[in-house]
């Protein structure tokens, strides 16, 4: 008897586990993204102590933190405040009449469309960016520290006595 059943059960367990382990949710944070520009958060946020919201300027006003406009980069790098030879490259970007050109940053963090996360109240409540995004100021390439799933949100909301009403995020 056991000679048949035990291996069978074991096999099923393994396959099941493998399926769960290998199936990745489309919106799970990605550790493997490579950005088009080797931008270093460590240098900016860590070494030079630039506050997060200097570049992610909308975080306190909107659901989206916002990706800094190229003009924001040029603001420093174009004016000798910071080094780096990106002046020549910036011109075509700022010129609408030239051929389309975008920097296509790759998302590290995404949420499914049925979750309405807004940065604004979290910033207002004084939540550290790092508490969700990890110590980005130490990262050259941003990698997710937490898996941002519902459990993660719920835990924090429970500790902080924030709302647990479903429609707060799902509507």
């Amino acid at each position: 008897m056991n000679r048949i059943i035990l291996p069978l059960a074991l096999l099923m367990l393994l396959t099941g586990g493998a399926v769960i382990a290998l199936s990745e949710r489309p919106w799970a944070p990605r550790a493997d993204v490579v950005e088009p520009i080797p931008f270093s958060h460590r240098v900016h946020a860590g070494v030079n102590k630039i506050p997060c919201q200097y570049c992610h300027a909308y975080a306190s006003r909107s659901s989206e933190p916002g990706i800094p406009a190229v003009s924001r980069c040029v603001g420093c790098h174009g004016n000798g405040i910071a080094g780096g030879g990106i002046q020549p490259v910036t011109r075509p970007w700022t010129d609408d009449t030239r051929a389309p050109f975008e920097i296509q940053w790759n998302r590290v963090y995404t949420l499914p469309d049925f979750v309405r996360f807004t940065h604004r109240p979290h910033i207002h409540a004084g939540i550290e960016c790092q508490s969700c995004h990890g110590p980005v100021q130490t990262m050259d390439r941003v990698v997710p520290v937490h898996e941002i799933n519902m459990g993660f949100c719920i835990d924090c909301h429970t500790q902080k006595k924030a709302t647990l009403d479903c429609v707060g995020c799902h509507h």
Binding site: S62, P112, C166
Partner: protein, 972 residues
């Protein structure tokens, strides 16, 4: 990104700026993985935060002001502009649906040229404009007046542009054509006062209103404004010591939505309204109710109306003598009365105006203002002349922009034939329509929401329309096309190069002349407010009594006649390409996606036809076929057919739906004598409605104004409903407890709320078959019930009321959901968590109001309609139940604002989409925990009228309705 190449680069970047473009199935499609920053950030755009631009609505001549809500560079919702005196912050269903004109997938994306074989070939703008230029040059050289511009009115500035265009082409033929125009009113005004401008009405200033066939709540002149006035007119108030509501009578062939909201519907044959109107005047004259200072010579007037002795009129029209007498009595004695006419013959309008004049109501309920704007549309004669010229081969190039003459023009104009005679027809517009099918060059034109324009609906009101988003397709503003072309041919310098310039120049000219005001500040101000709104001044009227030397002739009688009226949502046909409007049930018939022949059962028996039989309706001008709708909402001997369907082109949603009622009418007519016969075919008329009989259930309730005045509570409320001893403790609401008060008496059934809900909440449409299969998705619907035999004597003519989720405290839907997808929120809403729903559909089974909607299929928004989707609302996938949650996204937004600004939420800060749209302010939303909130006050101020739908079920709804009011029969 899925948004295709048809979007300009900046728009593309804007769209891309936030990555969560709503996707079809929650969780089944990965969110966009790219983040594309601006090059230079746009101050107006904070990704994730809506920005608002004031502009004007262009769906009908009323010219309401609108505010466009923009997210990431795409307009997602239109709402009324509170600063605008006409709409005053409301917007009708047609206005809401303008978005689907903007994002219509069938819009022309690139210029097209029709080859000799009739096939269309896409060409570049340069080629198209070159071709246009050459043709125009040739034509203008060939001689005078060989170029014609033919288009719908687009405001004073555009008019100037068009005129200077034809001028540059050595021509003077600029025709501005509106199928539904106010010519009869102008003629009447001309006859009586020697002026052709339109009067402005103040129903709210009247005590008595008689409408001779004017559907002023639907399509007549300025529906939103008049509906608002009418609701004030019908609000119970002390008049002459007694609590009462305005008395309204409707004279016409059909119980239209407007008629149903009046006290009585006096059924006459179409065209007989004038007869009745004159007869009422006759009564006034007889009773000497003519105010001495009205300037009328009583004797002459008596002579003029001698043919209209009530008895005689009664004999001709079948309207009882006493009814006419009562109307005259009522009208004469009222302190402030208003008579309006909506018929095609100016006779009725004239009679109505005289009625107002003799009772001294000019300047009170109806008024002419100083310097009212010039006429938008050309006179019928001018139009005829132009069409004749075309037919006569006197025109080489016809530039057609709007109006869709081939569809809307009466057969007598023979417009198709005329256009064939024109060697080169240029068509500029959005969705290619019947007229485009006859053009040799098709140019994609900007939607009004994409272009600069202005409106001048009446004295003192100038609306400024600014583009609210980047062009969706590769189109250009018609004005720019014209100006460019004109500049090419004529050496003469034109005042402006583009429409934008033109509009700005025109408006700077309007700036107050005081030298301390900087024109640029003025320009900013008018763009912020959406126009320039000033004091109006009454103009002195000089009465011309000469027309009344001779007796007024009486109209001919008809055996069987067809009455053709503009569909409340499709208007003259321009609404037919918008699925929201196609799927919106016509309030009285509750029919969708079709045209129909409304016949009285009696007449049907005579004709030997039955429900859904397709009949042929034949007049001397033409014939159409439509399925029969058996209702006693139309006078015997009359077949009522709505205008708007029957397109042979005009995009996938309009094509081959119903029949075009324009084709059986004489020029400017709304009725004709007909012969009708059954074709033998049948076609099912589709409606989401089940039973029309409420069976005495308390869904829509009404009470008589007499009961209200007497403080009598209707019997249905008499036995006190004592709640059973509850098993569970009642809910406690620490913060807010959202609720709604809906005044059924104010609700006209116009369905603006329904469309607003579609737009705000990403509610999909399902098409004719879908509706027939019971899959309509609307979260809010207009309940329409006919009073049954025993109700009829003590009921309004029609029960009309919005039905939406009642957000019950004892919600039957909540405990039955096995997974908490349907649950009670902390603020008293019946929340619905779409991504948690597994689709057992138990909640809808258990919902007594049947207001939950199930996604039977994956909803589809053909690109670019998906750009209209509201990013704050999840797009539901197949197998999920969805419902109204009082616009939870708006509540969240409002609460977050208050929270992050460390303040209390203000009453009225959160406005639901339906409430926002409602022209009569029938819906009030607010916090039940705050007794001072407008919503609660409205309840308390109308205690006697409070009722809750199906209250005996003890579901404890958060919505309290206020009973409809009617006048006890025989007292109307």
């Amino acid at each position: 990104m899925r948004e295709g190449p048809s979007i300009s680069r900046r728009a593309f970047i804007k769209l891309a700026a936030t990555a969560t473009a709503a996707t079809a199935i929650p969780g089944c499609e990965p969110a966009a993985r790219k983040l594309i920053p601006y090059v230079v950030p746009d101050e107006n755009v904070v990704p994730g935060v809506p920005s608002f631009f004031a502009t004007t609505c262009n769906e009908c001549p009323a010219g309401c002001g609108v505010v466009a809500r923009i997210r990431e560079g795409r307009v997602i919702k239109l709402e009324g502009n509170p600063a605008d005196p006409i709409g005053q912050g409301s917007l009708c269903a047609r206005g809401q649906a303008a978005l689907q004109g903007l994002y219509n997938p069938d819009r022309l994306a690139r210029p097209q040229v029709r080859g000799s074989d009739g096939a269309l070939r896409t060409v570049s703008w340069d080629d198209a404009e070159k071709m246009l230029g050459d043709k125009l040059a040739a034509a203008s050289k060939a001689g005078k007046d060989r170029v014609a511009f033919f288009g719908g009115p687009q405001g004073p500035t555009f008019k100037k542009i068009a005129i200077s265009f034809v001028g540059a082409c050595n021509s003077s033929r600029a025709i501005f054509y509106e199928a539904i125009n106010q010519e009869p009113v102008r003629v009447a005004a001309k006859t009586l006062f020697g002026r052709r401008d339109l009067p402005t009405y103040r129903i709210d200033q009247a005590e008595v209103l008689i409408s001779f066939g004017a559907d002023f709540l639907e399509t007549w002149q300025s529906p939103v404004e008049l509906a608002r006035q009418y609701s004030l007119f019908r609000t119970p108030q002390k008049r002459g010591g007694a609590l009462t509501i305005g008395r309204a009578s409707y004279v016409g062939p059909r119980l239209s939505m407007t008629a149903s909201k009046c006290d009585e519907w006096i059924a006459t044959a179409p065209g007989a309204q004038a007869d009745v109107a004159w007869s009422v005047l006759n009564v006034l004259v007889k009773n000497g109710k003519v105010s001495p200072n009205s300037g009328f010579d009583l004797a002459a007037l008596g002579k003029a109306v001698e043919n209209f002795d009530p008895a005689a009129t009664s004999a001709r029209t079948g309207v009882p003598v006493e009814t006419i007498a009562r109307l005259g009595e009522m009208f004469g004695n009222a302190n402030g009365a208003l008579a309006i006419a909506g018929t095609d013959d100016s006779s009725a309008h004239l009679a109505a105006m005289i009625l107002n004049a003799v009772t001294g109501n000019f300047g009170k309920t109806i008024m002419f203002f100083e310097n009212s704007p010039g006429e938008e549309t050309s006179t019928p004669d001018e139009v005829d002349a132009a069409v004749d010229a075309m037919r006569g081969g006197e025109i080489d190039v016809a530039f057609i922009a709007g109006g869709n003459p081939v569809f809307t023009m009466p057969p007598s104009e023979r417009i198709a034939e005329a256009l064939q005679k024109v060697p080169f027809v240029v068509w500029a517009g959005g969705v290619p329509d019947e007229t485009a099918a006859m053009a040799s060059l098709l140019l994609p034109a900007h939607h009004p929401l994409e272009s600069w324009r202005d409106t001048a609906p009446r004295a003192g009101v100038r609306g400024l329309g600014q583009p609210v988003m980047q062009p969706v397709f590769g189109s250009k503003p018609v004005g720019d096309i014209l100006l460019a072309a004109a500049a090419k041919i004529s050496g003469t310098k034109l005042p402006w190069a583009t429409t934008a310039e033109a509009v700005k120049a025109e408006w700077l000219a309007l700036a107050p002349k005081a030298d301390d005001t900087n024109p640029e500040d003025f320009w900013v101000k008018v763009r912020r407010e959406g126009g320039l709104f000033e004091e109006q001044h009454l103009s002195a009227l000089t009465l011309d009594t000469s027309p009344f030397k001779a007796a007024v002739p009486t109209a001919a009688q008809m055996e069987l006649s067809v009455y053709v009226y503009p569909h409340i949502f499709l208007y003259d046909g321009r609404g037919a390409d918008k699925p929201w409007l196609q799927e919106l049930p016509e309030p009285v018939t509750q029919l969708v996606w079709d045209s129909w022949a409304e016949i009285h059962p009696e007449t049907a028996r005579k004709l030997g036809v039955d429900k859904d039989d397709v009949i042929e309706i034949k007049t001397e001008h033409g014939a159409i076929e439509a399925p029969v709708l058996l209702e006693s909402t139309v006078r015997p001997g009359v077949i009522a057919v709505p205008i708007g369907q029957g397109h042979r082109a005009y995009g996938r949603y309009a094509k081959d739906v119903g029949a075009n009622a324009w084709t059986i009418l004489a020029a400017g007519a709304t009725y004709a004598e007909v012969t009708a016969r059954a074709t033998g075919n049948t076609r099912k008329l589709v409606s989401p409605l089940g039973k029309s009989d409420m069976m005495g259930r308390s869904i829509v309730e009404a009470m008589s104004i007499e009961q209200l005045a007497g403080g009598v509570v209707p019997t249905s409320e008499a036995e006190e409903v004592t709640g059973p001893s509850e098993m569970y403790a009642p809910w406690k609401y620490a913060g807010h407890k959202w609720g709604m008060t809906i005044d059924v008496n104010a609700c006209t059934g116009c369905s603006a709320c329904v469309t607003a809900c579609y737009a705000e909440n990403n509610v999909p449409w399902v098409g004719k078959e879908g509706v027939d299969n019971g899959r309509i998705m609307s979260w809010i619907r207009i309940e329409r019930y006919f009073p049954n035999e025993e109700e009829a004597p003590v009921a309004p003519q029609l029960y009309l009321a919005p039905m939406l989720c009642q957000q019950c405290d004892h919600a039957p839907c909540e405990p039955v959901c096995p997974v908490f997808a349907s649950y009670h929120t902390e603020e008293g809403l019946n929340g619905q968590v779409y991504n948690r729903c597994v689709g057992t559909r138990y909640c809808e089974n258990n919902c007594p109001y049947k207001v939950r909607r199930f996604n039977w299929f994956v909803p589809e928004w053909p690109a670019p309609m998906n750009l209209q989707l509201n990013p704050d609302v999840t797009v539901r996938g197949a197998g999920v139940m969805e419902k109204c949650t009082f616009c939870i996204q708006r509540i969240q937004f409002g609460e977050l604002n208050a929270k992050t600004e460390d303040r209390q939420l203000r009453d009225g800060e959160i406005v639901t989409a339906c409430q926002q749209a409602c022209p009569t302010r029938a819906i009030t939303f607010g916090d039940s925990n705050d007794p001072a909130s407008a919503m609660m006050r409205r309840r308390d101020d109308n205690k006697l009228r409070n009722y809750r739908a199906l209250e005996e079920l003890n579901t404890q709804p958060a919505i309290t309705y206020l009973r409809d009011l009617y006048r006890e029969k025989g007292k109307a």
